[in-house]
């Protein structure tokens, strides 16, 4: 209670004939947070976003934007801005004309901030849209969304086509938005980007939400990689609880451990290690651990 939710979906379901694109999605995006939305191709990420935007009608369930039904697009869109992965703009308008039109359609824009963003993204607004590269067209979407200073920014692969320098500019702008109290819903395949920006991560598979939490909460899903070197013989840790993938190269030991790390540490310390290195799984490793196998390693038993 208390804190307003930016996005709330309840049992949101979308079917195309017998194909279930999205199944019973219950999701809450808190006001002011950056939520990363992950999943392999066809998992239902874009379906979720298009349902939230009211571009497609859910088969069942509902979605709300700051308590406003997503189906009331005029009211709900007053408070959000959307960045698609690939937008189609009118080819004969210039970049500036397009930004002006999109700003007028939203109703509000911060013109000084727009001009600042044009400089930051090194965007050339006098060229006609048909002459822009994919990256430059993407900059229109980014500037058009950020300049509105909308309460909620919904992004679907927002850095598609951007070079690494522009991607840094994007990250800076997202963090500015968060600092200003804006909420960000970020669907992306660039896991490094999600890891760097997001407070929480939701992971979707085959239309179902399989994980939702902070990165630290989710790290239990994947093994911790441990590397150790010894002056003497490498101890046998294959029988230690939770240990797998043991590899021994001379005096070097590499293994994975899932669950409590203490039994492994005790076994290693007893053998007197020369070096000891352990690293938490990256988001990429977490993601691969979820999708590398046919079955989802899911403690809640969901598929």
């Amino acid at each position: 209670m208390g804190m307003e939710s930016a996005i709330t979906t309840k049992g949101l379901t979308k079917k195309y004939g017998s194909f279930v694109a999205l199944a019973q999605l219950d999701l809450e995006v808190k006001k002011g947070e950056i939520l990363g939305y992950l999943g392999p191709n066809g998992a239902g990420k874009t379906t979720t976003i298009r349902s939230i935007l009211g571009l497609i009608q859910p088969t069942s369930g509902s979605a709300e934007i700051f308590g406003i039904p997503a189906t009331d697009t005029v009211q709900s869109h007053k408070r959000l801005a959307y960045i698609p992965g690939e937008a189609s703009f009118w080819p004969n308008l210039t970049g500036m004309e397009t930004l002006h039109l999109l700003g007028r359609l939203h109703g509000e824009m911060d013109i000084a901030y727009r001009d600042q963003l044009i400089k930051r993204f090194e965007f050339m607004p006098d060229k006609k849209v048909r002459t822009y590269s994919k990256g430059n067209r993407q900059k229109i979407s980014l500037i058009a969304a950020f300049m509105t200073r909308a309460d909620l920014l919904v992004m679907d692969e927002p850095t598609s086509g951007l070079d690494p320098i522009m991607e840094q500019a994007f990250r800076q702008t997202v963090l500015e938005a968060k600092a200003a109290g804006q909420t960000v819903f970020l669907s992306s395949h660039i896991l490094e980007e999600v890891e760097a920006l997001c407070d929480r991560v939701a992971i979707l598979r085959a239309g179902k939400l399989v994980e939702l939490g902070t990165l630290s909460e989710m790290r239990h899903l994947s093994s911790v990689r441990v590397e150790a070197s010894f002056d003497t013989k490498v101890p046998d840790v294959t029988k230690v609880a939770g240990v797998s993938g043991v590899e021994v190269h001379g005096h070097q030991l590499v293994c994975q451990v899932q669950g409590p790390i203490e039994p492994l540490l005790r076994a290693l310390v007893d053998a007197g290690p020369k070096t000891l290195l352990s690293r938490e799984p990256s988001l990429e490793e977490l993601f691969l651990s979820l999708y590398g196998d046919n079955e989802v390693k899911n403690p809640k038993g969901r598929r």
Partner: protein
């Protein structure tokens, strides 16, 4: 080892040009077949109907006299030759159908396959293969030629079969030349469409250029037919087709300019394809511009801003045509009144035989053509709305504060306003053309004739919006289908005894050809109401359905 295995699995799957040719042929064969079958049905039913309605030579001579001296009919169909024979009638009619249906189809598919594919970015995928821009363009033209051959084959079979009918009676050999004449306009306008695709930066502008060439060719041909300046027929592609005169008085010499124009335009297209950069065009747009923010304040005004070029082209084309045919009206009527059998025909048509009545009859026929144009505008408006959805432009609006209802009704209102504007343009420009010669025609008659066209356009728009709501991907096909169907029924029904229920499915059955006859205002009001009801149902469904991509 693995490399060896991979090499062993590699196989040659086609020569790039051949692949492109087959690919383009595959993408155009369906429409070519549909077109050819429509041609076959229309021509066969019309000729069979003619034989049924006018079974004796005496009947046919009387019918020929009436048709041969109608200036309005001549504008649309050209000058008939030997109409006292059924073969003469078949040639006159089939060539017109071949020109009208074939040319429009040809420039639409050529511009779609060449400029349309290039603008969409798919052409570069083909060019990434082991080919050059010229070879790829030649391959595409080859694919289009395959579709033309299918059109020819079906036309040849149809016309040969018609020739075998006892009362028609012509040999298979001449029938093949007859079919060649029927598809010759399509050949020329396919090459012109290909050339326009190299000249213009967008598909719409390329198609517009080809349409303008057709419009000028048609107007010059019409002027050659209805005035004493018959030499005009020698300088227009559609005049060359008319002068082929298969069956009745074959003049294959006119194949020379037809083949020449097609070859020059086709080879020019291939040459230019290699000369220019991918995505560029001979007629260039400015790549940069100072921002002009007028009209960019809302969805409706933005639609005006982004489509104003197209709207002005429609208005300009109709205005120019109205003035041209208006100016032609007096001359045409004078020419026909000086002919021996004209008075009898005009008496039958208008009951008066006066210059005013015959001018009205002529202008009525022109307004019929304008009504087709107005309906085509309405169909294209529905198609443009669908294109905005399919290409993702609509997403830009709907993810902001624009509701579907506001967008759709705004665009419908705009289309209706432009349709009324087009009708007014036709009336006023026709008046400007007609008023140069005193003829007793009142300005009010032309305004009424203009307004008389609007219900048909609103009904067509209604069908288009209904389709947009129900079956969005078929919007364009269905909207233009209404026009094609009505036209077909009008053509077939006018010469045969067709069930009135079938006749009633044609929009033209419910519209009078004003100013030759008084408009049917009540039927017009019903068409408007039906059109608005269809828009309302389509809008309701559109509000509730998912947006659909291409």
């Amino acid at each position: 080892m693995s490399a060896k295995v991979m090499m062993a699995e590699m196989r040659v799957v086609g020569h790039p040009q051949t692949v492109i040719m087959r690919f383009v042929a595959r993408r155009t064969l369906k429409s070519a077949t549909f077109l050819a079958l429509a041609f076959a049905v229309v021509v066969a039913s019309k000729v069979v109907g003619y034989v049924q309605v006018y079974p004796t030579a005496k009947d046919q001579v009387a019918a020929a006299a009436a048709l041969a001296n109608n200036a309005g009919v001549k504008v649309l169909y050209g000058t008939p030759h030997h109409l006292e024979t059924v073969a003469g009638f078949a040639v006159w009619y089939a060539l017109t159908m071949g020109v009208l249906l074939g040319s429009v189809w040809a420039w639409l598919v050529a511009t779609r396959q060449l400029r349309g594919e290039e603008t969409a970015g798919r052409w570069e995928l083909l060019l990434a293969g082991q080919t050059t821009r010229r070879r790829a363009a030649a391959g595409a033209l080859g694919g289009l030629a395959v579709s033309l051959m299918v059109f020819y084959a079906i036309a040849a079979i149809t016309l040969t079969a018609i020739g075998s009918i006892h009362q028609v009676n012509y040999a298979p050999g001449p029938a093949l030349f007859f079919a060649l004449a029927a598809v010759s306009a399509a050949v020329m306008f396919m090459a012109i469409g290909a050339l326009a695709s190299q000249l213009m930066p967008t598909r719409a502008r390329a198609a517009g250029l080809a349409a303008a060439v057709f419009g000028v060719s048609f107007a010059v041909r019409a002027a050659g037919d209805v005035t004493n300046a018959h030499w005009l027929l020698n300088v227009t592609p559609l005049g060359w087709v008319e002068q082929l005169q298969p069956l009745v008085n074959p003049q294959p010499i006119w194949l020379l300019p037809i083949v020449g124009l097609s070859a020059v335009a086709g080879m020019g297209a291939v040459w230019l394809a290699g000369k220019r950069d991918l995505g560029a065009s001979v007629v260039r747009d400015h790549d940069t511009a100072r921002p002009r923010l007028r009209l960019l304040s809302g969805p409706l005004l933005a639609a005006v801003r982004t489509t104003r070029g197209v709207m002005l082209a429609w208005i300009g084309a109709l205005g120019l045509s109205g003035w041209f045919f208006g100016a032609l009206a007096s001359t045409a009527v004078q020419v026909f009144q000086s002919s021996s059998s004209a008075q009898q025909y005009l008496d039958r048509l208008s009951g008066a035989g006066s210059a005013t009545a015959s001018t009205k009859a002529f202008i009525g026929a022109i307004f019929f053509i304008f009504m087709l144009v107005l309906m085509a505008y309405a169909a294209s408006s529905a198609g443009a709305m669908r294109a905005d959805e399919a290409q993702g432009y609509l997403d830009n609006l709907l993810v902001r504060k624009v509701s579907r209802r506001r967008w759709l009704w705004g665009r419908v209102g705009l289309a209706m306003a432009v349709a009324v504007g087009l009708a007014a343009t036709a009336s006023v420009s026709m008046w400007l053309g007609v008023s140069a010669h005193p003829n007793g025609l009142m300005f009010g008659d032309l305004i009424k004739a203009g307004l008389n066209m609007v219900p048909a356009a609103i009904f067509t728009l209604g069908i288009g919006i209904f389709s947009l709501g129900m079956v969005p991907r078929l919007t364009t096909v269905i909207a233009y289908g209404v026009i094609a169907w009505s036209f077909l029924i009008e053509l077939v029904g006018s010469g045969t005894t067709v069930n009135h229920w079938v006749l009633d499915t044609s929009v033209f059955t419910h519209v009078a050809f004003a100013p030759a006859v008084e408009p049917k205002w009540r039927a017009g009001a019903v068409l408007v109401m039906l059109g608005l009801a269809l828009v309302a149902i389509g809008a309701l469904r559109f509000n509730r359905r998912d947006l659909a991509s291409e």
